[in-house]
Symmetry: C2
Subunit: 342 residues, 2 copies
């Protein structure tokens, strides 16, 4: 590590400084850094020593100016304070770093086409080489994707945009697992508290739930609308609690499931004795709520990993669009579900 103490007008060492110290030309330094094998071992050692002594690091701006590569990926996301999106972002950041790329994050404040376009523009302007979209599929809001430079590699997460490669958890399967689990416990049918209609996750879960009911010839009750929040789950739960025919509820995420649990409890409905409840996400506290929540676990890390893998395939491999990936979730059975008794 070079000398870090610093005079007022210090200049970071540049390639020329290293070259002078090593007694070579700056081109040789560049070669040591870019294609070490093309330099005689002896020379290479001298250069590496000089680099070490000066604490030299290449200037990335200069480098990307000439190579036209920024070694940066952009992530567009929305509200990452909740467990699902946060984990997804986390997975993506880790995978990106592992691949030696930097991550630039743009977070949408509102789900409008305008906000999305601006975010993408900002990232494009930063010369990102690829883009990960974790924002929900407000179809209209996402039309902007067509305005993207066609050279830019894009992967959408949980977002089946027609023209874009996507990586997603198999929401339909997850919902089927949840619903079938409840049916297998002897429940006549399953009620559903759904997520917002402009999230494809929400729609996938509705689809899986319906499919499972229909495949088993069960009546499909009217779904209740939620907005992912525990408060909306609570509101839905109050309605469900009033209907004595309800014995099984599948909430589209754990927060809403928690709200349902709360509402049922307050109404004197016992879980799982009277009503069974299943969530979705398997957030870290799911095993410790009362009662411990049966839910569907999403492999967020894996989604992050695969998105980046595909994205970098496009970035480095050329224009070819990678194949979309779908990753299966898993049902985790805990204590909020039981055989029908009511």
């Amino acid at each position: 590590m070079g000398d870090v103490s610093v005079a007022k007008n210090w200049r970071l060492p540049v390639m020329g400084d290293v070259a002078r110290l090593a007694g070579v030309s700056h081109m040789t330094v560049s070669r040591v850094l870019n294609e070490p094998d093309s330099v005689r071992p002896e020379t290479r050692e001298r250069v590496l020593l000089a680099i070490e002594q000066l604490g030299y690091r290449r200037n990335s701006a200069a480098r990307s100016l000439v190579t036209r590569r920024s070694q940066t990926l952009g992530v567009v996301c929305f509200d990452t304070t909740h467990h699902g999106p946060a984990s997804m972002l986390n997975g993506i950041v880790h995978a990106t770093e592992e691949a030696g790329y930097a991550v630039s994050v743009a977070s949408l404040r509102r789900l409008t086409a305008d906000a999305a376009t601006q975010a993408v523009q900002r990232l494009v302007h930063q010369s990102v080489e690829g883009l990960v979209l974790i924002a929900p599929q407000a179809v209209e809001a996402m039309a902007f994707v067509r305005a993207l430079p066609t050279t830019l590699a894009v992967v959408a997460v949980e977002n089946a945009l027609p023209t874009v490669t996507s990586v997603s958890v198999d929401q339909v399967l997850g919902a089927r697992l949840a619903t079938e689990h409840l049916l297998s416990l002897g429940h006549e049918t399953v009620h559903h508290v759904r997520g917002p209609a402009d999230w494809s996750e929400a729609n996938g879960r509705v689809e899986g739930w319906m499919t499972a009911l229909e495949a088993n010839g069960r009546p499909v009750p009217r779904e209740l609308a939620g907005d992912w929040s525990a408060a909306s789950g609570y509101a839905a739960g109050r309605k469900l609690a009033r209907d004595p025919r309800v014995t099984a509820v599948f909430a589209a995420n754990d927060s809403m499931a928690l709200g349902v649990l709360r509402a049922l409890l307050e109404a004197g409905v016992r879980v799982p004795e009277d009503v069974s409840v299943v969530g979705f996400d398997d957030f870290p506290e799911a095993a410790y709520v009362t009662p411990p929540l049966t839910t569907v676990s999403q492999p967020f890390r894996e989604v992050g990993r695969q998105s980046i893998e595909i994205l970098l395939g496009e970035v480095e491999g050329g224009a070819a669009r990678g194949a979309s990936a779908v990753i299966p979730p898993e049902l985790v059975v805990r204590a909020s579900t039981a055989a029908r008794r009511r």
Copy 2:
């Protein structure tokens, strides 16, 4: 918006292209972009029109190469899948974007000096102009901060590093509020489930709790160790449940509080009738767990905003180190606490 359809070997428009189209020199284009008032309105309009027609955007690499400014801030964080860190990151990203800077994120995989140094190096290498550290204060692991280029502006969040400006929530105050709330309900003393010792948040909360007990002349029970997870809270809760003298518990975060709740419930201890429990964080589900959790709400957004404000003050204002800020949290009373009865 210029023509986006693209031939195979398209070259993005550069300043010279705009200049040619507008019939000026590239310097005038640069001026229109950087100091519009120095250009005659008539000329300016011509240039702006040309920019629009070509869909021109300045090349940020070239720009930052010559200005030595990247308009990018770096964030070092650790495990942002939980509500607290995720919200903090979110607040910081929003504030940074609002200020017109890009955000580059580096996420630590492990809390070691090595990982931290590498993360910082990566960001420095990306020429970030300032650094926000949201990583916990593993004092030893953070020694690397001294190795930072002294020219780099740094703000630590929740991390009282001696030589670095910091922004934090007043953990001591929050813990005092929680503890005093419990004492005011008639509890003789309050037991504490603490967070890991290498997190300054955890230590601040221990301090506030102790201070409150001592100020009121109460015995200070031995604290129980936790690791922020609900599982560790559960383990602590089982111990607490065995001790009939325990009537009030302050857990250092909501997850652990949830674990405590669960353990007490399983042991047949009623909350809040037999034992009162307070958490910390006010995570979004806190109002819907059973019973709704009394907790301390942290102003994450505000912390993000202030960190960036201070950081940009340093970045743009020169070398002067900004004053550290401490933001007060608030007690939110719900149903997990009640007057002593046991």
